[in-house]
């Protein structure tokens, strides 16, 4: 901003015109005013002018300084200085442009916001590393175990599992529950343990139940079922996600193990005491540890490497049918196979992609069930977009009026004019040019899936616009 400097002469002119006195008078007045102020200041007094401010003398102490060129110490003499303290009225008037601004107290936690940020970024990686080392420990521990301890091998396996800090009590309760449930199959008859395992959020069990009741090909419904089963009750932070998943998987891995073991081979609990199954047990635990590691690696990749996620998301759509087939198998052994398949990431006809899709939305506060539903909804939408639309049922038939347009009909029937493309698709045989529909043409308004023509959903609008581009360009 350019500062205009007003000289005393201009002030004199202004004062004379305002007070309607001659310039001479005002000039004299100003001179006298200044000299009076000076005099009284020199006399050591302070001068107060109403509505303007206070002039005061201030003594500045002599101080030492250094000559910049020679480096010698020099003593600056003390001196008097006239200070001006503006009156409150003048202060407020001058500060008017910024008067609305008030001092803001910042939170005491704010001092290290950057640190927190980096923590958020690093946390998943750190947890990942922790888990890797934990798994190594676990493996070495298993190998060093004496045969006596091996009977209860399942419990020590679980001890290192709380890699993730147990935050809530509910979390801890879950963990205890797992521990208990793992012990039970060993001590009890496997058939008794079986129903309890079903409760332990083992997806396959649930899936089969669902499958038995409704052997329908409604993939969406099934997916939702799976995701809701896999969901944890507590809301977890994003950074806990990998750990959470591991725990989840531990759960599903461990529970079928004893049942499988006993069911397939001997069906008796005494058998566990023999040497052979101990080896089998140890073997399986090793395999599980390796699978666990693979899964963690894969999920790490999945979370931090977008292409992988995209790939899994796309394969998930194509694989829904195969998921259905695999889950129809009821026998325990086959089930175990599917379980183990889940943990080998490269096998395609497995539900892994579906699970991954469920995990995908990792924004904000993480809630598995909600997130799962969103993911399923989104995917079903995409599925619907990709499906070939067949128009069989119609809700109405319109006769084109003069200057009638498809967009107007779309607005009336579907709520948004963007969806005119679907009307056009249903009436392609009658409309040679969507831009100019001839008067009197009978237009059939197709019945559409309400999810496809949701005006509130930006994806639907986007899809319709894409189709619009396709048809309009074709006509051109």
């Amino acid at each position: 901003m350019i500062k205009d400097k007003i000289s005393s002469q201009e002030v004199i002119d202004l004062v004379s015109s305002k007070a309607q006195v001659s310039k001479r008078v005002s000039e004299d007045f100003l001179k006298v005013m200044i000299s009076t102020i000076e005099e009284s200041l020199l006399a050591g007094e302070l001068v107060k002018i109403k509505n303007f401010g206070t002039f005061k003398l201030q003594w500045n102490e002599p101080r030492k300084s250094v000559n910049v060129h020679s480096g010698e110490d020099i003593l600056l003499a003390g001196y008097y200085k006239v200070t001006f303290t503006p009156d409150v009225i003048l202060k407020d008037l001058v500060n008017e442009p910024f008067a609305h601004l008030m001092p803001v107290e910042l939170d005491s936690e704010n001092p290290e916001p950057e640190q927190e940020k980096t923590n958020v970024i690093l946390d998943p990686l750190r947890i990942f590393n922790d888990q890797a080392s934990e798994i190594k420990d676990l493996l070495s521990e298993i190998q060093s175990l004496s045969p006596k301890e091996e009977v209860t091998v399942n419990t020590p396996v679980f001890v290192p599992t709380p890699v993730e800090p147990i935050h809530d009590e509910t979390d801890y309760a879950d963990y205890l529950l797992q521990k208990e449930l793992v012990k039970k199959p060993i001590e009890q008859e496997p058939k008794e343990a079986l129903p309890e395992e079903k409760e332990v959020a083992e997806q396959i069990f649930e899936k089969e139940i669902v499958e038995d009741i409704t052997p329908v090909e409604d993939a969406d419904y099934k997916n939702e079922e799976v995701s809701s089963v896999s969901s944890f009750d507590t809301v977890e932070d994003v950074k806990l996600l990998p750990a959470e998943e591991v725990e989840n998987n531990n759960n599903s891995v461990e529970s079928p193990l004893p049942a499988d073991n006993s069911d397939v081979e001997f069906d008796s609990s005494e058998f566990l005491k023999e040497i052979h199954p101990r080896r089998v047990l140890r073997f399986w635990i090793k395999i599980l540890a390796v699978l666990l590691f693979l899964l963690v690696t894969f999920s790490g990749f999945y979370l931090f490497y977008p292409p992988v996620r995209n790939f899994t998301a796309s394969t998930a759509l194509g694989l829904k049918s195969s998921v259905l087939k695999t889950s129809e198998k009821v026998s325990m052994t086959e089930m175990f196979n599917t379980v183990s398949n889940w943990f080998t990431p490269k096998q395609k006809p497995t539900p892994i992609p579906v699970r991954k899709v469920v995990i995908a939305p990792k924004d904000t506060t993480y809630n598995d069930s909600v997130a799962g539903k969103i993911a399923v909804k989104v995917d079903s939408l995409q599925l619907m977009f990709d499906k070939k639309r067949v128009y069989k049922t119609f809700i109405a038939t319109e006769t084109v009026k003069p200057n009638g347009r498809l967009t107007i009909m779309a607005k009336r029937y579907y709520g948004s004019k963007d969806f005119w493309v679907y009307i056009y698709e249903a009436n392609k045989d009658r409309i040679p040019d969507p831009d100019r529909i001839s008067e009197g043409t009978q237009i059939r308004i197709p019945k559409l899936d309400p999810r496809l023509i949701d005006p509130a959903n930006p994806r639907c609008i986007k899809k319709a616009r894409e189709l619009h581009d396709v048809y309009v360009k074709k006509e051109n």
Binding site: V21, E45, F84, L93, N95, E105, L106
Partner: protein, 96 residues
């Protein structure tokens, strides 16, 4: 020296009634204020300059409570004495 005393001494010097001097002083003050509000610098030869300075916003920390407060920017009036006045003040003996 307060407002009244200033007017009295000025009136004595000018040989004018106090009311006239008071009016003139009032007009001068309002004129200066208006000029300053318009962000103009007023220079009185032999006395000093009045100018508006902008103080930028800053973060202040309370030394004992560590409460951090964001102080908004503000405009303040600044007076800088002229060199003539400074020279005059140099002759002033310092007693303390």
């Amino acid at each position: 020296m307060n407002h009244k005393e200033l007017i009295a001494s000025m009136a004595a010097k000018l040989n004018a009634p106090k009311s006239v001097v008071a009016d003139l002083l009032d007009t001068t003050v309002t004129t200066c204020t208006e000029l300053l509000v318009e962000n103009k610098t007023i220079g009185f030869q032999s006395f000093g300059n009045f100018e508006i300075r902008k103080k930028e916003e800053r973060l202040s920390v309370h030394p004992s409570t560590q409460v951090r407060t964001l102080i908004p920017p503000k405009l303040v009036v600044n007076f800088k004495q002229s060199n003539i006045l400074k020279e005059k003040l140099k002759d002033l003996p310092h007693h303390d």
